[in-house]
C-alpha cells in the first residue's frame, strides 16, 4: 500500500488532504449504551471510523485457571469486521495485529480499573471495528473508556487516546488512513486526563527527541477536546430524560 513512488503530498499550504490543519482532530461523535445486553457499551464515529465497544462483567472468570483470587482479570478483544475497509474483503477474527492491539488496550485499562474490588471475576472488553479509516486503536480505547464508565465499573480515571504522526517535517495529530500509509512516523498514545499518566505509547518511523516531546504536548491538547466529547456522551442520556419531563413538570 505505502508506495513511495506515487506518494501524495500530505500537506499543502499548511492544510492536509482533508482540509484539516496539523493540530485539528477529525469530527468525533460518541453514543453511550447502544448494546442492550452489555453491562456498558459505546459507539464512536471518529472521522470515517465506526467502532463499537461493549463491556461484560464483572462476572466469574472462566475458564477457572484464569481467575486471580486477589483481583478481577481484564480480558480484551479488538477485531475488525471483514467489510470494514475500502479495500478487499478481510478475514474475520484475530490476526497478529489484532492480538497485539488487544493486549496493549487491556494494559491501558488494567491501570485504571479498581480490579481489587472483584476477586475471582473477569471484566471483558470487546472492541469491534465496523469501519476503519486509520487510528482505530486510539478510537477503540477512547470508546471502550466510555463503555466502562457507562457500566459503572469503578475507575481511577477515564483515559482517552489519539495518535500523532509526521508528514514531511510537520507533526500532525490524528492521522487518517492515507496519512498513516505515507507518513514518516506514527505514535498512538493513551493518557489519563486527571493524572496525566501515559497508559499506552507505541511509535514507529522516525522522530527527534524534540518531536516526541512536542507530539506528546499536541496529544494532551487534543485530549481536552476528546475528553469533553466522552463526558458529554455519558451525561447526555440523563439530561435527555430530564428534557422529556421538563414540559410536564
Amino acid at each position: 500500500m505505502g508506495n513511495s513512488a506515487n506518494k501524495p503530498e500530505l500537506i499543502i499550504d499548511g492544510r492536509r488532504l482533508d482540509g484539516r490543519t496539523p493540530e485539528q482532530l477529525r469530527q468525533i461523535k460518541i453514543t453511550a449504551n447502544p448494546i442492550r445486553n452489555a453491562a456498558g457499551s459505546a459507539f464512536i464515529e471518529w472521522g470515517n471510523n465506526k467502532i463499537l465497544a461493549a463491556v461484560y462483567g464483572p462476572r466469574e472468570a472462566l475458564p477457572k485457571h484464569t481467575q486471580d483470587p486477589n483481583r478481577a482479570v481484564i480480558k480484551c478483544r479488538y477485531t475488525m469486521a471483514p467489510f470494514s475497509s475500502l479495500e478487499e474483503h478481510g478475514r474475520p477474527g484475530m490476526n497478529r495485529r489484532a492480538i497485539e492491539i488487544s493486549k496493549v488496550t487491556r494494559e491501558v485499562f488494567e491501570n485504571v480499573i479498581l480490579t481489587d474490588l472483584f476477586p475471582g471475576n473477569e471484566i471483558s472488553i470487546f472492541i469491534e471495528v465496523l469501519q476503519s479509516d486509520g487510528g482505530t486503536r486510539a478510537a477503540g480505547i477512547t470508546c471502550a473508556s466510555v463503555a466502562l464508565a457507562a457500566s459503572g465499573i469503578p475507575m481511577r480515571d477515564m483515559p482517552f487516546a489519539v495518535s500523532v504522526g509526521k508528514a514531511s517535517d510537520t507533526l500532525i495529530i490524528d492521522m487518517n488512513k492515507i496519512e498513516d500509509n505515507y507518513s514518516n512516523a506514527d505514535m498512538p498514545v493513551a493518557i489519563n486526563p486527571r493524572t496525566k499518566e501515559i497508559n499506552l505509547l507505541q511509535m514507529d518511523g522516525e522522530l527527534t527527541p524534540e518531536e516526541v516531546h512536542r507530539g506528546l504536548e499536541m496529544i494532551q491538547k487534543a485530549g481536552e477536546t476528546i475528553t469533553k466529547i466522552q463526558r458529554e456522551a455519558l451525561k447526555a442520556p440523563y439530561e435527555k430524560v430530564n428534557e422529556k419531563y421538563k414540559a410536564s413538570i
Binding site: A39, G40, G57, P58, R59, E60, P69, A72, V112, L114, L117, F118, P119, G120, N121, L148, A149, A150, S151, G152, I153, P154, M155, R156, D157, M158, N192, P193, R194, T195, R231, L234, K235, Y238, V241, N242, K244, Y245, S248, I249
Partner: protein
C-alpha cells in the same frame, strides 16, 4: 447543588471518607458515574454494581443445594453461601429465596442468613444502582406499587426483584420505568398515576393467531 460526576473527577481538594471514591495525592476523586451532592456530602452511583453490606436483604436463586451448604446465584460478581446447619429452611436447586447478608469474605463470597423460599412468581433483574429508588424513602415507592397492583414483591439489594400475583404485569412495567427514570424528579407522582388507586386494570389484550 447536585451534579453528575464521572470516573476521575476531583470532588474535593482534601481526603474524604466517601463510598465510590479514592484519595490520590490528598484529593478525593470519584470512581464512577454518579450524582454528587456537595452539601449533603453524598455520591450516588448512576450505573452499575452492588457492594454488599451486612444486614442487606437479597433475592437469589439456589444454584447448588448441598448437604452442608447451599450456593446461591445473586446475579452479581459474588456468590452467596448459606451454611445449612444454621438454617432450618430446606431448599432445592432452582428455588427463589430471599435472605440477609451476614458478611462478605475476601474471596468474594457472601455468607447469607435467614433464608426464606419464595414460591411461584417471576424474577426481574434491574440495575443494583436503581434499587434505592425502587424502594423509595422509607419504602414509600415500593409500597405504592404493591398497594396499586396488589402484587407481592420482594426487592433484593443485589438487583433481583421477585414479583407474584395481583397485576404483576403492571408492577413489572412500573419497576422497569423506575429503573429508566430514576434520577428524574417527579417520579413518585408519575408512578402513583401509573399504578393508580383508580383500580384501572392493565392487562395486555390476548390476541388470536393469524
Amino acid at each position: 447543588m447536585k451534579k453528575i460526576v464521572l470516573p476521575g473527577d476531583i470532588i474535593a481538594d482534601k481526603p474524604l471518607r466517601l463510598d465510590h471514591t479514592i484519595v490520590e495525592e490528598g484529593k478525593t476523586c470519584s470512581t464512577v458515574i454518579g450524582m454528587f451532592d456537595e452539601a449533603a456530602g453524598s455520591l450516588i452511583p448512576l450505573e452499575g454494581l452492588w457492594y454488599p453490606q451486612p444486614g442487606e436483604k437479597i433475592v437469589g436463586i439456589v444454584e447448588e443445594a448441598k448437604l452442608n451448604t447451599d450456593v446461591i446465584t445473586l446475579n452479581a460478581p459474588y456468590k452467596g453461601l448459606i451454611i445449612s446447619k444454621f438454617s432450618e429452611t430446606s431448599m432445592v436447586n432452582g428455588d427463589i429465596i430471599e435472605a440477609t447478608v451476614k458478611e462478605l469474605d475476601k474471596t468474594g463470597t457472601i455468607i447469607l442468613v435467614r433464608p426464606r423460599v419464595l414460591y411461584g412468581g417471576k424474577v426481574l433483574a434491574i440495575k443494583p444502582s436503581k434499587v434505592p429508588r425502587l424502594l423509595g424513602k422509607n419504602d414509600t415507592m415500593i409500597r405504592q406499587i404493591t398497594d396499586g397492583t396488589k402484587a407481592s414483591i420482594s426487592v433484593g439489594m443485589n438487583g433481583l426483584v421477585w414479583v407474584k400475583g395481583g397485576n404483576s404485569d403492571l408492577a413489572t412495567d412500573a419497576i422497569i420505568r423506575i429503573q429508566e427514570e430514576s434520577h428524574v424528579s417527579g417520579l413518585t407522582e408519575r408512578i402513583a398515576k401509573m399504578v393508580g388507586s383508580t383500580g384501572q386494570p392493565h392487562q395486555p389484550q390476548p390476541q388470536q393467531q393469524g
